[in-house]
């Protein structure tokens, strides 16, 4: 009635009743006011600001009403102004209602029904509901649970009677066996809050996760549970009980328990609920584990303690058994007493501390009791035992007894006091690495120095100091000092010897202790002994040491620090790849990022006064990169590039394309200059062939070249060859070797190239090969050796590197200009002369036919003389295209990749395939329309199945469509035809869906011949040899002179081979 009156809702009868007992009215109003004030004060402690604000607002409003009601009751009782109601703004002093905004915020935000978990009679019940939400049906509950994890097994779920939610509604519910849902329940705790999982379920998940943690630490003990009846037999089973449950954590978890988690027993103590959940999860886990272990037989009877013991061991998975009541009770009591040290409420765990060794290398282990000292600090365990009494002392002794069982050396005789013992290095290491973690699992607190489990490999350190030597560069003499580095710890020979003598050598590095391998120490000692007497070295020798080319070293390698040419060089080369450098402004084109890095490396080489090997994979643009560098340094003097004849015109073409400002001279052929010095003085770049270089070596060697570049440097892999010996005579400030295959036949090839680029720097061949051979072990091959030198003397990048592959286009189309041989030129001219001497006559069809036949003949000659003459002589060395093809095929095979070669001429294709088979001593097929279907299919299958590299020749018509040959990443279009679509189809055998690598497609043309006319037509130009043909014209309409112009050779573009050896023969 009083509340109604305060709210202004009292009925007349109520008012009359209140008026009839005004003092009582006043007392009740005052009591209500006090209750409201208390509630308002409590509301100020609510954790959620929004809830705090809205509760505060409601209570404040109520306070105002009640204050007014008290005043009215007091006036009615005749007390009038003697009564002072508390000011209605008291809420502001509490700080709760001060946060109130409006009063129209709901008390608990309503939302959709969420999946709830309740702990009922020691088991999990799932239902779905929420504040202001209608509970879901049983099927919807299952759907919600499965939406969290679609693999959830709902078999074994049973419907139970509905639970009653606030407001009185019933929520359909499931009883879920814990062993069917434990993983799901634990996972719920680690998922972010969302719209499905309610706080009650999450809370259960968190407690379940805690139980899993205890289980993962082995913190559980088997206890006997028995249900007693009236008879002499008890029904027993093993119950796994959590051990070392932290009291503070337990209480904190209990405090967070939502009421919905105990919906059927809201009054249950939260700590009891939490312990129940913990215990059930631990029991479930351990029983499941016991069911996986080998089961021992049950005893035939359970009337004695021994038999009950056996029954317990046989029933660790929770199987029930009957036992004599008295005996079971006795065993139960013994087990409880045995487990009590870890199941009773215990204080903070004992602290086991290992101090870092003192000056004499002694490690001190000490045991302490936290919280037992004044002000809650720790005291040594002996002191705690001496000063504490009763249960407290007993607890410490029991805990110490557990510690002694795990670490018996704690009780070693001769110690100064109980709980303190000196350890050897071996014992300290055991504590650091193994015993410490065991103690933590057993519930002790452990403080030990930080440990590094993996021993770092010793590194030999070479410290260099400039000693005032007048020499520079590789000849600079520096003072050196040797030591061994283990992590950040530097050791001399005496330190190494001392450690090697210890049973368990422990060192502190990087703030952590680590046990060294004695084999590593022995290796380091040997490496140090080998070098310790050396006190001065040249820069070149320092470099060789750093590269591992001089003697044996420890597994961690050699590090050079200090000052001097070599140390500076190695520091700069240490970061690979080097910083990219932009090409000069006059460079026409864009370098890819790895090319810019290569340019940076070339710049570094020039600065360091070194030569090097640019080992970019074929197709990655070595020539353009080098041209950019030549352009940058053109003012320093001329560059001589020695290249295979097959790529001579390519060099000229690329220089014209990328660096048109370079003055380029081709020194090759009968018309080449006699005055090489003068020629070099008027050009920035002179390009010559290996053959020409050998023939003109005396004159070339008389020029002061700024730079010597050798392309396809594998041609000098034999240092005894005439080519290699001749090229070494060429003087130059810098020497650069270009090759995609620097280790074609082994590390000796690489030595030859590097010794050419930096004479004497890399030492003797045998030592070089031996030093790098160690790096090729483990199946990594020569690439590993190249990587060891990468950034310094070698710049190696391959298409297989993901960052390179990502930058490359899906396909690269390149035009390869292949010079004809003299034999080809002669044949070509002869055919053309015959056509011109006897021009075609007759109707258009006849005339066209003869011209086309002549064109076909000329194209065959461009391919190879034998393609036209069908002679039986060996093919090698008679065709520029074939020579270039062999170089490409060599490189592709060396890279372990596959190559497709397309030709229009099937008979030539067969001849070519035979030649390549002989060359590589492996079957190379020719796929053409003349083969039976089965033979064609087998050829393709065999080629696809071949491991590593492989070559396949295909006729354009038969192989141009329908085949999927994505195993190939290289395509050569050996001869051209008028229709580019046909060639695109050929290339697309490799470049198509399913291809994961960049496809490099090369079109071979002989410059100055019909090949180039085809190129022009394909490129969309209708102008052929300066003739403008009306659209309706055909070749058959051309006069003899027009034919000569259209099809004839262009001498200015012809690059004929010289008589004499091929590039390969010169290199042999």
């Amino acid at each position: 009635m009083v509340e109604n009156e305060a709210a202004g809702e009292a009925a007349p009868g109520d008012l009359a009743a209140l008026d009839g007992d005004r003092l009582r009215w006043l007392r009740v109003a005052q009591a209500l006011l006090r209750d409201t004030e208390d509630a308002l004060e409590e509301a100020g402690e609510l954790p959620e600001p929004a809830l705090r604000a809205q509760v505060g607002a409601d209570l404040d409003a109520e306070l105002r009403l009640l204050s007014a009601a008290v005043t009215r009751a007091a006036v009615a009782a005749g007390l009038g102004t003697l009564w002072q109601a508390p000011p209605p703004s008291r809420a502001a002093a509490n700080g709760a209602a001060s946060e109130a905004g409006t009063t129209d915020v709901a008390a608990v935000p309503a939302g959709p029904p969420r999946l709830q978990g309740s702990w009922v009679d020691g088991g999990l019940v799932l239902w779905a509901g929420g504040p202001g939400a209608k509970p879901l049906s049983a099927e919807e509950v299952v759907a919600l649970a499965v939406s969290i994890d679609s693999t959830l097994d709902t078999g074994g779920w049973t419907r139970r009677k509905p639970v009653i939610v606030p407001g009185g509604e019933q929520a359909e519910a499931w009883a879920v066996p814990l062993d069917r849902i434990l993983g799901w329940l634990v996972a719920v705790a680690s998922t972010p809050p969302g719209e499905v999982v309610a706080p009650s379920l999450r809370w259960l998940g968190e407690v379940a996760a805690w139980a899993v943690e205890l289980s993962a630490l082995g913190r559980a003990v088997p206890i006997l549970r028995r249900s007693t009846g009236s008879g002499p037999t008890a029904r027993c089973r093993v119950r796994w009980t959590p051990a070392l449950v932290d009291k503070g954590r337990l209480e904190a978890a209990a405090a967070r328990r939502p009421g919905a988690a105990v919906i059927t027993a809201p009054a249950e103590d939260a700590v009891v609920t939490t312990r129940s959940v913990l215990g059930s999860v631990v029991d479930t886990l351990f029983r499941h584990a016991a069911s996986l272990a080998r089961k021992i037989p049950e005893p035939p009877a359970t009337t004695t303690a021994a038999e009950v013991g056996e029954a317990i061991l046989a029933g660790l998975a929770g199987e029930r058994f009957d036992a004599a009541e008295r005996v079971a009770g006795m065993v139960e009591h013994r087990l409880n007493r045995w487990a009590r040290p870890v199941t009773a409420d215990v204080g903070p765990p004992l602290l086991v501390r290992l101090a870092e060794p003192d000056s004499e290398g002694v490690w001190l282990l000490s045991v302490h009791v936290p919280g037992a000292g004044a002000g809650g600090g720790e005291v040594p365990v002996e002191v705690a035992m001496g000063t504490s009494r009763g249960e407290e002392r007993r607890a410490v002794e029991v805990a110490y007894g557990r510690l002694e069982r795990l670490v018996p050396l704690v009780s070693r005789p001769g110690r100064a006091r109980r709980g303190e013992v000196a350890l050897s290095d071996t014992e300290a290491w055991e504590l650091l690495s193994e015993v410490g973690p065991s103690l933590e699992a057993a519930g002790f607190s452990v403080q030990v120095p930080r440990l590094q489990r993996r021993s770092p490999s010793p590194v030999l350190r070479l410290f260099t100091k400039e000693g005032g030597s007048p020499q520079v560069g590789a000849n600079q003499l520096v003072d050196v000092r040797w030591s061994v580095l283990i992590g950040d710890l530097e050791l001399g020979a005496a330190d190494i010897a001392r450690l090697a003598a210890q049973a368990k050598p422990l060192v502190r590095t990087g703030g952590r202790w680590v046990a060294l391998e004695r084999a590593d120490l022995a290796e380091a000692a040997a490496a140090l002994a080998e070098r310790s007497k050396v006190t001065q070295m040249t820069g070149g020798a320092v470099l060789r040491e750093a590269l591992g080319l001089e003697g044996s070293g420890p597994s961690g390698g050699i590090r050079v620090d200090g000052e001097g040419w070599a140390a500076d060089l190695l520091r700069e080369a240490g970061a690979f790849p080097p910083p990219p450098v932009d090409p000069p402004e006059a460079f026409r084109g864009t370098l890819r990022s790895y090319q810019a890095e290569a340019l940076g490396w070339l710049t570094f080489l020039d600065r360091a006064g070194l030569g090097g090997c640019l080992a970019l994979d074929m197709g990655l643009g070595k020539t353009a990169t080098v041209l950019a560098r030549i352009l940058s340094t053109a003012d320093q003097g001329p560059t001589l590039a020695v290249v295979p004849q097959a790529v001579l015109t390519n060099w000229a073409a690329e220089a014209n394309r990328f660096t048109p400002r370079l003055r380029v001279a081709i020194h090759h052929g009968a018309a080449r200059s006699d005055d090489v010095v003068r020629m070099a003085a008027h050009h920035d770049l002179v390009v010559t062939t290996f053959g020409t270089a050998i023939r003109d070596i005396d004159s070339l060697a008389s020029v002061k070249w700024d730079r010597i570049v050798v392309d396809e440097a594998q041609n000098i892999k034999n240092p005894a060859s005439e080519t290699a010996k001749s090229l070494r005579r060429l003087p130059g400030r810098s020497r650069l070797a270009l090759t995609g295959t620097p280790v074609e036949n082994g590390l000796g090839d690489l030595w030859a190239i590097l010794d050419f680029t930096n004479p004497g720097l890399v030492g003797a061949r045998d030592a070089f090969v031996a030093g790098l051979s160690g790096k090729t072990l483990g199946g990594q091959g020569a690439e590993a050796a190249l990587r060891a030198l990468n950034g310094l003397l070698v710049f190696r990048r391959t298409k297989s590197e993901p960052e390179i592959g990502a930058e490359l286009p899906d396909k690269i189309d390149e035009l390869e200009r292949c010079a004809m041989t003299a034999e080809q030129v002669g044949l070509y001219q002869a055919v053309l002369d015959k056509l011109v001497a006897d021009p075609p006559t007759g109707d258009t069809k006849v005339r066209n036919g003869r011209v086309l036949a002549a064109i076909t003949a000329l194209k065959q000659i461009c391919d190879h003389p034998a393609a036209y003459t069908h002679d039986d002589r060996p093919l090698a060395g008679r065709s520029g295209k074939l020579s270039r093809l062999e170089q490409v095929a060599d490189a592709v095979r060396a890279a372990g990749e596959k190559l497709l070669i397309f030709t229009h001429f099937a008979s030539w294709g067969e001849r070519l395939a035979d030649h390549l088979s002989d060359r590589y001593d492996e079957p190379v097929g020719c796929y053409h329309g003349g083969l039976a279907r089965g033979a064609r299919d087998k050829m393709i299958a065999d080629w696809k199945a071949r491991q590593g590299g492989g070559i396949l020749v295909l006729s354009l018509k038969a192989g141009g469509t329908g085949l999927n040959l994505t195993e190939a990443s290289h395509v050569v279009l050996y001869d051209r035809w008028w229709n580019p679509a046909v060639e695109d189809q050929a290339r697309d055998r490799a470049w198509r869906i399913g291809q994961e690598r960049t496809v490099v497609s090369r079109r071979f043309v002989c410059p100055g011949t019909i090949d180039e006319r085809v190129e022009e037509v394909v490129a969309g130009k209708r102008r052929i040899a300066d003739l403008v043909l009306p659209a309706s014209s055909s070749l058959g309409d051309l006069s003899a002179e027009q034919l000569r112009v259209a099809l004839g050779l262009r001498p200015d573009q012809l690059v004929a081979a010289e008589d004499g050896s091929t590039d390969e023969e010169a290199a042999a």
């Binding site: 509630a39 929420g130 606030p166 634990v186 009650s200 943690e213 009421g259």
Partner: protein, 92 residues
């Protein structure tokens, strides 16, 4: 007023409702479970289990169960992304 159950103030009812339904925590629990490499450490620290059977038999059977239990628990924890990566020595 005796015998009549006093109607709870709306705000108190709201607080009760909040306590019943609980509140969402902002963050899910982070990985914190560090499995042990010595599952039977706690068991060994208690000494022989008093079962009046051969010590070796009891020890062998219990050790087998503890090892399997820690494996199962670690698997459950891993599946829930609750296993903490070991960074070094204990107490460091």
């Amino acid at each position: 007023m005796s015998g009549r159950r006093r109607k709870k103030p709306a705000a108190v009812a709201a607080a009760d409702a909040a306590k019943f339904w609980g509140s969402d925590v902002d963050e899910p629990i982070a990985p914190f479970i560090r499995p042990t490499a010595d599952p039977t450490a706690l068991l060994r620290s208690l000494g022989p289990i008093p079962l009046t059977v051969q010590d070796k038999l009891a020890a062998a059977q219990l050790h087998a169960v503890y090892e399997k239990a820690t494996m199962v628990a670690t698997a459950v924890a891993s599946a829930a992304s609750l296993v903490e990566v070991d960074e070094g020595s204990p107490g460091s």
